[in-house]
Amino acid sequence: MTAGPDAPLLDVSDLHVRLPGRGGASLHALRGVDLRLARGESLALVGESGSGKTLTALAVMGLLPDGAEAGGRIAFDGRDLLALDEDGWRGLRGRRIAMVFQEPLTALNPLQRVLSQVMEPLLIHRLMPDRAAARERATSLLARVGLDDRQARAHPHQLSGGQRQRALIAMAIAAEPDLLIADEPTTALDARLRVQMLDLLRELVAERGMGLLLISHDLALTARRVDRLAILYGGRVMEEGAAAGLLEHPRHPYTQALWAARPRLGAGRDQPLHPLKGNVPALAQLGDGCPFAPRCPLATTRCAAEPPRFDGRLACWEVSS
């Protein structure tokens, strides 16, 4: 069953996830997430720790932790992923939906040459008639991401961090997935390396007509390298839109504050800094209202009590679309 040509590749609507908390309590981690992604399009899901960005990606991969309860709808090419059993997932995960993990060293098998690891998905999903064909295809995939024959025959520890990341990307795209999910590293990885990886992912998306869902904490780095942005906070989408427009005219007070808090290169040593007050809320501390209300300069009593509805662009009582 596939949807019509106009239907989005991925359509997440009103996604709720509850996680088991201490003492039998349940933590309401995702509180109605809406996302849409078309083929050939890239969407960055940007959020700070605890915003729910990784949980959203895991829900789309059908990899929610044990005891998690999901509600709402995740439609992938017209199929409801939340209704899928493990058998149904087998043909999808790694095949039509693939993920690039953020830890290249743990995601690669240290004992196996890179080439064999790229061949694996081709053989598992029976995409190539024999090993020779798989080897040829894997070699060309590795060449595509910038690894030569010598690097293809290397073991993971013989490669640099950037080369390992490239190998993982080759593995992820080997089965020609329709949707690629990339979890951006949050640790102190070199900005230059991250930019190279983003650029490579973007090229591959354009070339192969995949959809790219990029999970990131870094608005500044991703904003100019994806088509659309969704800003997450406290398990809700605060703002969503075309990346260019959203950067030029951020509407939501949280997006504005995030953007203003960055120091600017070239603005000098004495440039004013605009730190946000307070801290990112822990899941257990989230109340019923807008999660950003306690830090928001525009917040009213209504904001703290009642969650604003996401209208496809914004979730804010004080600013309208």
Binding site: S49, A261, P263, A267, R269, L273, L276
Partner: protein, 272 residues
């Protein structure tokens, strides 16, 4: 884009009592001469030279593996260099008698990327913040007062001392780590990626705090960071490391605003 001249930062007088043990004329707070390091036959740092005057701050920029953290540890005298010298107040820190080095130690402190690096999870944070003071001849009462003082200086309530690290957010823990570093009234703080483990919305708070400490207390920073805008805000000078060598150094505003070396230009282009 003109305000970044070092001259706009007059060197504040070194006024704290703990610094009065310094006898040499403080022409340079920190000086590094021909510094190099080798691990297991592999050169990780080569021929590094720079001088920091009191109150001046340096940003060390480079990718992972460039030798940034090695340089930080050498500046802290946490390891001995294979080549060259590290001078605190004009004196070779690796050639001075142990007792003398121990006396100078409290004046150079470190803040790590992961605040857990300086906060013992099993201790109430007051104990962690106080720990560097145990080496100084102070009464218990003076130590407690100092802990309250530095907690206030980083924007935390005095009763924070009674809680445990896990009861704080990431940003608060980094404030605690900074409070601990401040406790001994250091003149130099070496900060290794002090922002990168923090949420973006919290990074600006720590950046503002560090800049305030520079302005108010005249503290010098050596900031190891791949965050170039943060280096611009915090540092008078910048040193760009690549493969253990300095490819470019100079006033931070110049290095970041008009980079001469293709490698620096490349790093900056990645941010555009």
């Amino acid at each position: 884009m003109s305000a970044a001249q070092p001259s706009s930062f007059p060197t504040p007088p070194a006024s704290s009592p703990a610094t009065s043990t310094a006898t040499s004329t403080p022409t340079s707070l920190l000086r590094v001469e021909g510094l190099g390091q080798r691990y297991a036959g592999r050169t990780v740092l080569r021929d590094i030279d720079f001088t920091l005057s009191p109150g001046e701050s340096l940003g060390v920029i480079g990718e992972s593996g460039a030798g940034k953290s090695t340089l930080a540890r050498l500046v802290m005298a946490l390891e001995r260099p294979r080549f060259g010298r590290v001078l605190w107040d004009g004196r070779d820190v690796n050639a001075m008698p142990t007792r003398e080095r121990r006396a100078l130690r409290p004046r150079v402190q470190m803040v790590f990327q992961d605040p857990y690096g300086s906060l013992d999870p099993r201790w109430r944070v007051g104990r962690s913040v106080m720990e560097p003071l145990l080496a100084l001849s102070m009464s218990e009462l003076q130590r407690r007062e100092r802990v309250a003082e530095v907690l206030a200086a980083v924007g935390l309530e005095p009763d924070a001392a009674l809680r445990f690290p896990h009861q704080f957010s990431g940003g608060q823990r980094q404030r605690l780590a900074i409070a601990r570093a401040l406790s001994t009234r250091p003149r130099l703080i070496v900060a290794d990626e002090p922002l990168s483990a923090l949420d973006v919305s919290v990074q600006a708070q720590i950046l503002a705090l560090l800049r305030e400490l520079q302005r108010r207390d005249g503290i010098s920073l050596v900031v190891v960071s791949h965050d170039l805008p943060a280096v611009e805000v915090l540092c008078d000078r910048a040193l760009v490391l690549r493969g253990g060598e300095a490819v470019e150094q100079g006033p931070a505003a110049r290095v970041l605003g008009d980079p001469q070396h293709p490698y620096t230009q490349d790093l900056l282009a990645a941010l555009a």
